[in-house]
Homo-oligomer: 340 residues x 2
DNA sequence: TAAGTTGCCTTAATCGTTTAAGTAGATCAT
DNA sequence: ATGATCTACTTAAACGATTAAGGCAACTTA
């Protein structure tokens, strides 16, 4: 028995052929070997339990068949947790079926340099940036390099990077339109952190929905949150104090919706009897709240999927058929919104 | 300008030295070059923006400095989502600071073979199995190979694999003891899926806590769940119907606790005024429920950390100082348990 | 002064593949 | 019979690093 794991050389000698032939049968270049030879080679492979060395292969083909995925620090961004898992799931799913492995680097414990190293040292063929913060130095850095990149989530408008994201504006506009169709006229919003472009777009969608129905925009009906539950709390508190309270509140994400719902309930205000709440994202827990949270469901996994697809396309063709993709959200009706 | 990225050869020629010298200064073999030479080399490196090719290096040193992490299909296992993120965070954090990159493979979209390939093709130096299901074929397969492995979470008792997990038995025993110290004598439990060893251990801990206080174990106070919220619902329903209802319910995980809490509240039974609830895990949402969920907090991130640490130790020394590690959980008191 | 030592650098083998180019025998057309 | 074309291989040069072994001054030491 061999101590080290078997190489193509071992296979070649036990099959009595050259390593080139072994390589050819492995890669299925069927016009380069005969059937009996192939059988001998395959037998040797099984016997030795050989599998081709990925590293050596990468070196010569000048491609690692590996994608890098950069996940942001989630600290302080509660949004991200299940969000990121789902996105990763989608990304991995497409990657492996396209024959790519995936390296992951988290910015949690780490600085920009590690992420950069991952592509500079040639250990990946390209990178996906998952939900990078707008101000991420990585974004502008990677924009300069010519490394294949796709970002999942929103990018600052001045950066031209291929990206795939949910269509915030349409989704929020639809949410508001639906609220209106449920009879609501006084609709409040708890926004995300307006320093982020995604928040701004969601607010734009909110206005657009109002506008479509010819309902006037009332500044006092917009409360600025930051995507975290406490700001949902604060928003609820703010709206409670208002003389002319909104009958429905649109939250820019589910976490704030949860916070708001909790605050209302603690204050004896019933959801949805007294106030309706609609969220955004469809995080996992949204289906287990009391009442179940009605929300705009992001196609998160599909975003991950598409990111992988576009990244691989970019790697293989050197170009991209489309540079930016917006996926529609879906209205998910549960119990937190009342018809009035 | 070069089209391709610069190699050590390019650096050598622009610095006017051999590639061996370049390699030596990069690796800091300070007795193998002079200061002026080093300066020339470093200058060339900066000028060309060179960084050493990871693949080539891996090939010759026979080590990829890459760890594989296998995450289970989370489908149907709501437990896992934030749980896995945190564990990954911990794992990544230690890995990168030890100079390792991390490849991830998800079993979501994929079968055992991809996971196996990841280690067989030499693209990783070892693998971590994150919370593998007891019956995972991977577990027994990997047990046979001599590949460096550490598993995060529980393993079937008949498999001798290095692992790190929370100390379920002690933790559950403590939870029950604390409930008792809060004045509860009639304590129910909603277990996890008893096909999983972790569930069994949690049930054992539950009994042990009772026993320590000299309280008799009542079979009708144990409801078998499956770790998912609906089974928490079902458990709550079961306990509600009981003539002699428990005053406190210990849930084997937070998701079931959430389900139970919701069911009680929907049925007009107040938590914690009428019934106290304690969970296990400390998932993210546990702090945002109404009332906040008191729970046993798993040191998930630390588990991830330790797994990486042990895996790297195993890779580098070929052996392991300790083969199994149990980390303590911490009682996290919020509002779902009443003193009576 | 001859032999050894030290400091600094180069040469060349190696890791395990891929793949272009070469070879040699068999078959075919002319 | 001769060259051309297949078929089924083998040879050998990459890929980009690491690293043992060797070379050659310039010193040290006996």
């Amino acid at each position: 028995m061999l101590r080290r794991s078997p190489t193509i050389k071992d296979v070649a000698s036990t099959a009595g052929v050259s390593i080139a032939t072994v390589s050819n049968v492995i890669r299925g270049k069927s016009d380069l070997f005969s059937d009996p030879t192939a059988e001998r080679v395959r037998h040797a492979i099984r016997e030795l339990n050989y599998s081709p060395n990925h590293t050596a292969r990468s070196l010569v083909i000048q491609s690692t068949k590996t994608l890098g995925v950069v996940v942001p620090k989630s600290h302080g961004r509660l949004t991200s947790n299940t969000y990121l898992s789902s996105m990763l799931d989608g990304f991995l799913s497409h990657s492996v079926s396209a024959g790519y492995q995936v390296k992951i680097i988290s910015l949690v414990s780490d600085d920009k340099r590690t992420a950069i190293a991952l592509v500079e040292d040639g250990s990946t063929d390209g990178v996906a940036l998952l939900a990078p913060p707008d101000e991420s130095p990585l974004l502008s850095w990677i924009h300069k390099t010519r490394i294949p990149t796709v970002v999942a989530g929103s990018i600052p408008p001045d950066l031209e990077l291929p990206s795939v994201d949910v269509d915030d504006i349409s989704a929020c506009s639809e949410a508001v339109s639906w609220l209106i169709s449920m009879g609501h006229r006084k609709i409040g919003m708890i926004t995300g952190d307006l320093a982020q472009w995604s928040s701004r777009r969601r607010e734009i969608g909110f206005r657009k929905g109002l506008e479509t129905a010819g309902i006037a925009y009332r500044p006092e009906y917009v409360f600025q949150g930051d995507y975290n539950p406490p700001s949902g709390d604060a928003g609820a508190h703010y709206f409670m104090e208002l003389k002319d309270r909104p009958t429905a509140i649109f939250c820019a994400n589910d976490w704030m919706a949860l916070g708001a719902m909790r605050k209302f309930q603690q204050s004896g205000i019933r959801v949805p009897a007294d106030v309706s709440i609609i969220g955004f994202d469809d995080i996992q827990v949204a289906q287990w709240t009391v009442p179940g949270l009605t929300t705009m469901q992001q196609p998160i996994q599909e975003i991950g999927n598409k990111v992988a697809e576009m990244l691989i396309e970019q790697i293989q063709t050197g170009a991209l058929s489309q540079s930016s993709l917006l996926l529609p959200a879906a209205l998910l009706i549960r119990q937190s919104v009342n018809q009035i």
